[in-house]
Amino acid sequence: MNNHDITLKINGEEHKVTVPANRLLLDVLREDLQMTETKYGCGTGECGACTVLVEGNKNICSCVTLAATMDGREITTAAGLEKDGELHPVQEAFIDEFAVQCGYCIPGMVLKTVSMLTENPNPTEEEIRHGLEGNMCRCTGYTKIVKAVQKASQIMAGSES
């Protein structure tokens, strides 16, 4: 297996790693770089627990992404949304609306929401529900997650105006 020397810019910081061609981004994050905020849920891109953002807004499942294909790209994880101890409005909204129960899906869910609101800052409830498909939660029935996305959308609209 060929090894690749790659550079990943994760949460604003450059990391140079050498990876075999078949190394998954999730394993690089969790095992090689000890950034465990990105979760393994299914390993097959079905549940979304491993969601990360590429170039700030495109959401991907890191469990089905080869790390080598991400050479030179900017990756954001849930921990990277927090800046100088300040949470991202989406994270605040998830806490305020009690959208967090067991928490295992939440890093992915929060990133999916950031991605969704970047594309569509003012989504309808239907658009939110559709946008969350691909990220599974077994605790909340999505009810309070949908409310958190709505609240985040309002907060972010308010802070821009």
Binding site: T36, G41, C42, G43, A78, F98, Q101, Y104, R129
Partner: protein, 781 residues
Amino acid sequence: MSNFKTVGKSERKLDARGKVTGKTIYVDDLQMPGMLYGKVVRCYEHAHARVKKLDLSKAAAYPGVIKVLGPEDVTQKEYNNSVIPLMVPEEMQQVLGDIDDQKIFTKHVKHYGDAIAGIIATSAEIAEKAAEKVIVEYEPLPVYLTSEESRQPDAVQFVEGKPGNLAFELPEPVFPNNTMGWGDVDDAFEEADFIVEDEFYVPKQKQCQMEPNTYIAMYDEEERLHCWTSTQMPKSVQRTLSKLFEVPMHKFKLHTATIGGGFGARLGMILEPEVCAMALAVPGRHIKLQSPREEDWLTSPSRHPGRYWMKIGFKNDGTPVACDAKFVSYKGGYYLDGSGVAYTTGGWLSAMYKWGALRYKGETYFTNQPICGAFRGYGNPQTNFAMEQLVDRACNKLDIDPVEWRKRWHKDVGDDGWCAGVPLSSCALDECLDRGAEAIGWKDKRAKYAKQSGTIRRGVGVGVMTHTSGASPMLLEHTVSTVKLNEDATAVVTLACTDMGQGSHTTLRQVAAETLGFPVEDVYMNVDDMDAAGYDIGAHASRTLYVGGGSVKAACEDAKRQLFERAAGILEANPDDLVMEDKNIFVKGSPDKSVAAEEITKAGVYNFLNPETGGRDKEPGQIQGYSSYFPAHNSPPFGACFAEVEVNTETGEVKILEAVNATDIGKAINPAIAEGQLDGGAHQGFGFALTEEMYFDKDGKCLNNSFTDYKMLGASDMPKMTDILVENPDPYGPFGAKSVGEGGLVSPIGAIANAIYNAIDVQITEAPITSEKIVNALKNL
């Protein structure tokens, strides 16, 4: 009316910040120095077979493999992954016939994915590759997927002492004729004007918690065995593993980790025995054992599927004169909660309505399906699916509004609940039904949907439930807690109650703060120190707030009493006359003369000596409150769910348009957290009713152990949910609280089934009610 400071408020979840940033640590996030990786070799060739030959030599020789373990290389003792045998008195274990029938690695494969060997290697990848080198020869045995097959006289016996593969039936000494109930059912049916009856099928539903099952274990230099686990029941698991591996309890350290969802799957053990056996084989090294997602369906317990016969006799005025029922479930390969679910399924049936007479039989048979055990609701969903549909069928014949019939015939305060001899302590089901009906627009919608003929039809349905708050007096409900008052008058509560994510540590902290009279921020929940924490039966039966909260309240009352006694000495007053505000203690009505709580807690440690005399002129010692708490009751909650659906009669597609989940909670300690339980419960209940089931081919191979093929409802499948918390304080629960964890799943099942019935005038008796079943039922009209 109340002047609670924190009880009743939606305080932020104490774990939420760590979870939105991902900083919260689950077992899989732990990396230990020099850690090794375990792999369980499983049988994927057969669902029923004997291992004739097992050759581990090629796997052992694979580079990077540290050790291979066959069935003889580990303890030969048998165990039960469900810890339920520990939860009843020993004599009752004998009566119930609970058994230990699992081995770490088996030579008799009893289900697809059964464990046959173990591998320990330097990486997970190497362990995986080495597993492929294991050579096994099997002698295939006949596969029995249902009890109809496994109970045949010539069937292979799963264990000795369970003839006919009957794992459990209600035991004769406690239940004459192996039945539960009252009255003479046969005579009572004679009085009935009409009878409704049917045979129902209930599905093998899986919990599907989002966190896969991961464990770490290590046997250290002091001969202490450590196990990091996300079990719901740390104390019972510690006891079970301690006995299994003959390690005394003080030499077994169980490290509780953040639980990424439980729902009953982690009630007891999953792979703790395997990982501990591996750790003992390689002393001094940490072993991580992770079960890949696709194995979760095969190796952790599901809900009990099976056939449910039910027959109810009614008089023309609606009186339910008799109910006769029998639930025969497919146990899977091992015993686990064999007695529990078969019994409680009837318990829930007995607790709901005022049947004139009742006869229930519960039986469960070993089969070659993966194991069954606890799943949120514990038999109640199965009963709800059958019972609530038959009630609505009768209401149709009677031309009685289903809400009105339920209000007239549900059990009420003073009637026996699910556990015979324990009368219901409180009941606000009428208010749940009234408020739920109003919220969904019941009367208008029922009238509007009465006559429909088009392709797209709508229906609205109701289901009700009663459940429990802890399992007293059936099980040994018990929680120990301590509260330590620090020198600066902050408090640390130590206990073993786990939080599966629902927020129980947050609500328990509110109970502690309210009782102590301290701000919530001044209370820390020490919940991961199993050496320090006393016994707790574990998170099951919706009991953590009710029993754990009762214990925390008692411990905090004990600490507060000690604090007030010391204050009374200083203030020269009677402790009973004292009150505390802003952590200042004074005689009620005289705030001018007060003593700060901190002055007392500090003096007890740092300031009790008189520097001149050397005498103790202040009360020395640190205040600790303690409680070893046994609840006096099981305060059943009640609930009503209303659902509106749209059914496409051509495609069979069902869309849930709206749902209202109203619950009689006694008192909501944290309303937002309680709502979260209703929302999540409804999601799983709707799934049971509409989409969720594990499927097998004729050889017992599971066909849908993946998130793509096992269909849970997604965000856009879920309707607008309205949660209604009906507060009618219970006389036994802490601050009047009853449970909310499981019940929210139960009534949505009846509500969806009845809404579909309302829409298409046909009842589907097999869950989940898939599109195919609807189309076929309509075709056969």
